[in-house]
Every structure is written in structure tokens, then in C-alpha cells.
Amino acid sequence: MGTLVEEIFSRKAGRIVKAGEILLLDVDYIMSHDNTTPLAIRAFREIGKPILDKNRVVIHLDHAYPAPNVLAAENHRRIFDFVKEQELPHLFQQGVCHQVMIEEGFVTPGSIVIGADSHSNTYGALGAFGTGLGSTEIGVAWVTGKCWFKVPETIRVELHGRTQAGVYAKDVMIYIAGLLGMDGGTYRSVEFGGEYIDQLPLHERIIFPNMSTEIGAKCGLIAADQVTLDYLDNETPAKGKGPFEQIRPANPRYERLLELDVSTLAPQVACHPDVDNVKPLEQVEGLEVQEVYIGTCTNARYEDLEIVANMLRGRKVNPFTRVIVTPASARIYKKALQNGLIEILMDAGCTVTGTGCGACIGRHGGILAPGERALTTMNRNFIGRMGSPLSEIYLASPATAAATALTGRITDPREYLMQNAE
């Protein structure tokens, strides 16, 4: 009886739990990456006890990968040595951690997956409880298999209608971030549902929990349904692990309900310098950009690349704009290559890089100079995130990014989508 997060936690605890309670629960998987694993190793060594279950430990090299400098390379070396020493079975160099976690079937409905990365909320797209933690807790979880949680209150976001052509889940989520604000979800579970969510394919659903982090949420959740189960069966090795339960909220008591009709929404842009500085695209249309970055755990899945390729097919991007495409994972890259998308992107003048977080954290792969402005498919526009503190980051959908790549100015994708349809 309760909200989705109460239902998930109740099953794990073996009794009915309510918001406000503090629980010590078993976690299913413990994720960390090249940025956060070294500190977790330090905590682990200090505790001085063995890893409880090596199968639950999953480590990714993605944040500064391939190593852009000596320090990053040393970091990777330390992690390789640790994985060998501990004989850990799950080390990945296949792309952005959150995407690979989902592709590899580590995220299943009703499971608890913690990560030393703030966007671990992403796993909520499959009805799992995912949340981001500090490195020490990851070291603690390696040893104990457990983590303490305060059961959060829930904000329910109920979405009605269907979006118009050229408007995507990213536009909807950016709009919601503008409404709720940067700390509008702090300590809360944000539950997304309604007929709009029900008909969305999984790759679009992921945007909502992923960006719930941007409004401070502890987790962002979408109840698992047939779409989720079909994805797990057809696209991941999780097949044999089921059957998975479709846990749903049952007589929930929500702290707040936000209802929204998405059918009148136009493309949205989250403008410099805050994710809640949200404007309809037409208000910033024509603003010059020096870089378009299509990548990250938010919007660099196969379908995103497909939207971009369809818009760029037979066209050329603006010659004075860096247009960088970083597929979220190796699997996505390979499929895009096999289906000819990479060729279309390259012919249009895009630079296609290897997989990983790339330019998202300003380590490499598209760093911005002072005074430069980027339009990107990322989730976060913190000052200086992609390089110089004097640069600006604007967040939008892959379609808006593609239209903007063609003109070098923030451009409404609907113009190009209409032309393609003709």
C-alpha cells in the first residue's frame, strides 16, 4: 500500500513501510566509475573487510575515457589493478555507465541499484530504485551488501496527451524542471506516470528519471509495464532473471501532484546558467552557438542518433560550429554504424567520437573556450561544466540540436522535420 517507492521498499523490507522510516536494505548492484571508484577503494581498504558479493560490484571506465591525461590514466590503472586483485567479474569500457547498466540487464523492476554518480536515478525508468551516493557508501556497500535509506515522500507528475511532432520527452522534462525548480524535488521521489508516459518507448522514458537529479530528487520512478518487460526480454541479457513483477503504486498518498497536458507544448530550452531557466525555444531562437554536442546518458541512444541523422541526411552542418556526436555506448555505436547512421552524420560534417561521457564534464572531447556557447543534449548546464567558466550551456532535444547544427544558431527543429516530410 503506497507510492511506487514505498511499494518497492516494502517488498525489499518484507513489510509495509511508509515515507519517513529509515531502513537498512540489501542492494542488488553497486555501481561506480573511473571518477568515483578510487575513493571507494580507499574506504574499502580502511574498513579492512572482504567484499561480500563480488557479483554485485559493477565498475565502468567512462568519465575520462580513453584517458585524456596522465592522471586519468593512472586512475584507470589503479582500477584495473583492483579489479584483478579482487577478481571482480563486471568491469566495463563500453560507454556511459548508466546506459551500459541498463543494456547489460543490471537494472530490473523492483531492484535497488546504487551508484557513485548523481545520475544513478536513471534506473528508475525501468521501475528500479536507483540513487546516487558518495564514494564511501559504495565502499561500505561492497563490504556489507547494504545501504541505509530514508523512505522519501513522493511528488507525482501526471502527464496527459501526446506531444506534437518535433517535441520530445526531453522538451517535456526540461519544462517540468522549469516548473519544479532546481530544489523542487529535494529528498523526494518523483514519480512520472499518466497516458503520455504509458505510450512512450523505453529510450524516451529514461529522460525523466535521468533528469530528476537536476531537481534534487532522491529518485525518479516510472512503474514497470509491458514496455519495460519487452525491453528487458528483447534488448538485454536480463531475460533469464525474471519473471519481473509490475510493481505499481497502490492507494498512494502523494505529497504533491503535478498534472500537465503535453499536447500544447513547443520545443523547450534550458538556458544558461541553471536547469530551471527554461524558455520556449522561440524566445532564444537565432542565438549563435559555437558547439553542438549530441551525447551523454540523457540523449545519445540509437533513436536519438536516428532523429539527428534523418535531419542531417544530405545536408551540411554550419562550417563554423563544432558538431560532436558521442554515442552513449558501444552497442549503440555499432548499431548506428551497421545501419548507416554514422556515415550520414560524417557526411554532414559531424565529428563522431568514441563512446563515454565525452565533453559532458569538460575533461575532453569538446571543451568550450571563454565566451563560447554550446547547445547540447546533456542534462546539466552548471557554469563551467564543459570547460571555461565563461562559456554557456543550453540544453535541448536531439532534434533541436540537429537543427541548430545546420544553422549555427538555435533553431526550431520543426522547420526541418516538415521539409523532410514533404
Binding site: 529509515i22 531502513l23 537498512l24 568515483t36 575513493l39 580507499r42 574506504a43 580502511e46 574498513i47 579492512g48 573487510k49 557513485a116 554518480d117 548523481s118 546516487g132 551516493l133 558518495g134 564514494s135 564511501t136 557508501e137 565502499g139 561500505v140 563490504v143 556489507t144 547494504k146 541505509w148 530544489d183 529535494t186 529528498y187 534534487g216 532522491k218
Partner: protein
Amino acid sequence: MGKAWTFGENMNTDEIIPGRYNITIDPLELARNVFCEVKPEYAKNVKPGDVIVGGQNFGCGSSREHAPIAIKGSQAKCVIAASFARIFFRNAINIGLPILECPEAVAGISEGDEIDVDLASGEISNHTNGHRYQARPLPDFVLKIAEAGGIVNFLKEHDIQELLR
């Protein structure tokens, strides 16, 4: 009893300890530079038992643990704030830095006031103006972690199950 050091709203982890000092996780080393940009006199003059007082959303920003480690390393007794950012809240508890949420106390405490805090009961006394404030008492498990000096130390001596027992 200790002195109050007051800070504004939305103190982010970079203002607590700028990223360029995050190459170490040694508490004393970090403490040397804690609040260096927003209140450089803090690190030089802080005394054991002093209290940090912040506004809304204290500790927002990155998930790095350096921020609470730096404050704890400076020997401050606790942080009182109107509210805390989520990951800072957890990190502070896990590294054994007591934190109290109490907007009334934040409104009623000025820089330099003499403050007494009873962590177990959540009572905050301002001896300079004679006012008392009641924060929610810290849950037992938080006090256990704080007493051990952090969750890593707690686990050296105890099983994790003992946390909520």
C-alpha cells in the same frame, strides 16, 4: 560551547572547498582551505566546538565527500542549516559530521554568537541572546555513526545490522 560562523543560502560544495583543493582527502589538509573564498578568516580562527550556521540547501552541487570532510577536519562541532542538499546530508552522516536542520535557529543566530548544541536532544542554545531552539533530534543511528567517527570506523568494530538496532 562554541562560536557561530554564519553562511548564506545555497552554499555549494565548491564554496565549502574549491575543486582545486580536492586532490587530497586528508581532513586536516582540506580543513586548511575550507571556506577559503567565502570566509578566509574561518580556517585560521576556528576553534574546536565552534558551529557552522547555513541557510537553505546547504552543501548543494557535486557528490564529492571532500566538503563535509573539510568541515569535520576543521573541528567544528556540527552544521546547523535551514535545509541540506541530499547527497551532502548523507555524506555528512557517513563521515560522522553531525548536522541539524533548524530554520528558526538559523534566523536567530548571528556571527560570533556563543552557541551550545545538545546533539542527542537537538536543543540549540544561543547564550548571546538567551534564545533556545529545537531541531529535530538526530536519529539514533546517526549518533552511533557520529560517535564512532564515521561509518568506516563504525564498521571496523560493528556489523552494519547494529546500526538500526
